[in-house]
Symmetry: C2
Subunit: 367 residues, 2 copies
């Protein structure tokens, strides 16, 4: 099939790298030809609202998917009128708006942090009264990697906070004590068949994902079942086709939903080596109508992001079980440049390999 990916970043690159071996032709809608996906797909360059570019892009396609949420709805509607867009627009609409996301969690009985809509300084004050402090003010749209967020710790932080985030529709979330961050990925086929990846544990640094451990250790089967039930309910309710990610907080044996991403997700990168079918292959299989494949874990795997700078290459590649994935981006502080997956059967050897990778990553000053 001829697959189009809206967005030329690393997720698009890894989708293309999974699609090509399955015999698909991949085009990518990007802004510049040095974006990561352009190295392995046919690039169509231009603004997302440039209908001439969209027309050339779509002309060659059987199906369109996307690799990030912040695509103008108008662009996707224009494309969807001409070719199937998977996942559908509803997934994107819900995920792009924290208020819709919370409403869906509530509707499906998925526990989440308490939240209030904030549309002006006055409603922020009301929300603070209702939820107490500390609390987190988040813009409803366009937030990622900690951007568009502000922690309110003391009453003095409240005044001006709404304006500091741009005076845009926001929500205030009550503070949730949490022991650790988890996530679960699921994938749904066109015929409604669903498969889920194991629950994984995530560790952030400066609001950017640093590390994912698959599977999350010490998770009770009851908790894992609740996570699977949540992602399964979300996939069905959204009539989602492809991969969907759900970020969760765990505390005291409880799970609280944080947010969803209607796409392949950084916390699923371990699956390239770690799962029988990677999240990228599973997404491609789903959107073209193929059977999804097994999402079972092959081996214990740890993913470490390379952010801002790259550790010494040779030292990294000497570490047993380490696999390097680079995105072809110019280093810049805070920029995700690649990731390393460390897989291993033996717990002690795996732990030692992860420590060696983290030491190298820390040596670059990025972790």
């Amino acid at each position: 099939m001829r697959i189009g990916i809206v967005g030329g970043g690393q997720l698009g690159r890894m989708l293309a790298l999974a699609a090509v071996p399955m015999g698909h032709e991949v085009s990518v809608l990007a802004q510049r030809d040095d974006e990561p996906a352009c190295a392995v797909a046919r690039p169509f360059l231009g603004a997302f609202d440039d209908e001439a570019v969209l027309a050339r892009f779509v002309e060659h396609l059987d199906v369109v998917t996307y690799e990030f949420e912040n695509i103008p709805q108008r662009t996707l509607r224009w494309l969807a009128a001409r070719v199937p867009v998977r996942p559908g627009l509803r997934s994107l609409e819900v995920a792009a708006d924290r208020a819709s996301e919370k409403a869906l969690f509530r509707e499906l009985g998925i526990d989440a942090a308490p939240a209030r809509l904030v549309d002006d300084p006055r409603s922020l004050e009301d929300a603070v009264l209702a939820l107490g402090l500390p609390a987190i003010l988040k813009t409803r749209r366009l937030g990622y990697d900690g951007k568009g967020q502000r922690v309110l710790r003391a009453p003095g932080d409240v005044a001006g906070a709404f304006e500091a985030l741009g005076a845009v529709p926001s929500i205030l979330e009550g503070f949730v004590p949490f022991t650790r961050e988890l996530s679960i990925l699921g994938v749904r086929a066109i015929d409604g068949a669903i498969a889920t990846y194991p629950l994984v544990q995530n560790e952030h640094r400066d609001a950017i994902l640093l590390r994912t451990d698959a599977p999350a250790l010490g998770v009770s089967e009851a908790l894992a079942a609740r996570a699977r039930a949540a992602i399964t309910a979300l996939l069905g309710a959204l009539d989602h086709v492809g991969v969907l990610a759900l970020e969760l907080f765990e505390h005291d044996g409880r799970l609280l939903a944080n947010e969803i991403a209607p796409r392949v997700h950084n916390s699923g990168h371990f699956s390239i080596e770690g799962a029988e079918t990677s999240q990228f292959e599973a997404h491609v299989r789903a959107i073209v109508g193929d059977p999804i494949g097994s999402t079972a874990l092959r081996r214990r795997s740890t993913m470490v992001n390379l952010v801002g700078a790259l550790p010494p290459r040779e030292a990294l590649l000497e570490i047993p079980g380490a696999h390097l994935h680079l995105y072809g981006k110019t280093p810049r502080p805070g920029r995700k440049l690649g990731h390393v997956t460390i897989e291993g059967e033996d717990e002690a050897a795996h732990g030692e390999a992860v420590r060696r990778v983290l030491a190298l990553v820390r040596g670059t000053g990025t972790a």
Copy 2:
């Protein structure tokens, strides 16, 4: 690094698919832009002796490799004068000429089928007298997938055989009774470090590889050690950098070398899923000067080639543990269009999955 691959076929495609995630930029020297590698690399199109194309190709490169043997020596010499070519020209020279290959086996004490040079009808008669019948007449150069070969079974087959193969320098090989065909792949780094993949078992149909089982079962440790010693000696003697394949016959507890391929090899395709580092990644690591990585087997794996026609896609992808690799080629009888790798921990389940794949492949009339 900027890697150039001479040849645009499926081996080049899979090399590029392994190189890009490691952060390399890949260019490919091909004849037409619909060749398999062109979908994932920057294509430079033209005849191998077109120096204007070669100059544009090499301008962008830090290292050149190749994906098939039958490249004009002149082309590689021209390139090697400008940029490192890995593996080196000696590997290609030896592998491209069955007489040099046999001489190297002899020099290294590697057992091989008895053979005589054949340069004219008269030397063919002498060779038949020396080796007896049946025997196989093979052109010294340009043979692959059973092309350039002729089996001489009875005295009446001898007259005209030399001319039928084009009256070119050939060799006559004595008939070797064999139980099964095996192969072993090794990879050598620039610093001389060597790693070997497990010995695998191959099954051909109409002189084209149908199936590879990794590892080969029922191999004594002594036999496996001899195979490792042979590939290790060859890698060293050729000062080879990258992957080298050695095809072997097994009979009665003995191994006889058949031929070498100075490149990634069809019998190593299982390694994409089956080994910790695939042959493609290992080759790329070697030629750019990175540590090779572990070549250990992850799981029992079987590779089945898709030749001439493609089996029903959905039925194939429903088989547990089956991974599809298509090369983007138009179906044509005898053409390798892709392969399926079936991996599995459990012997019975794996065997059943392989049977299902083979039944589908047979259903297309190609196996």
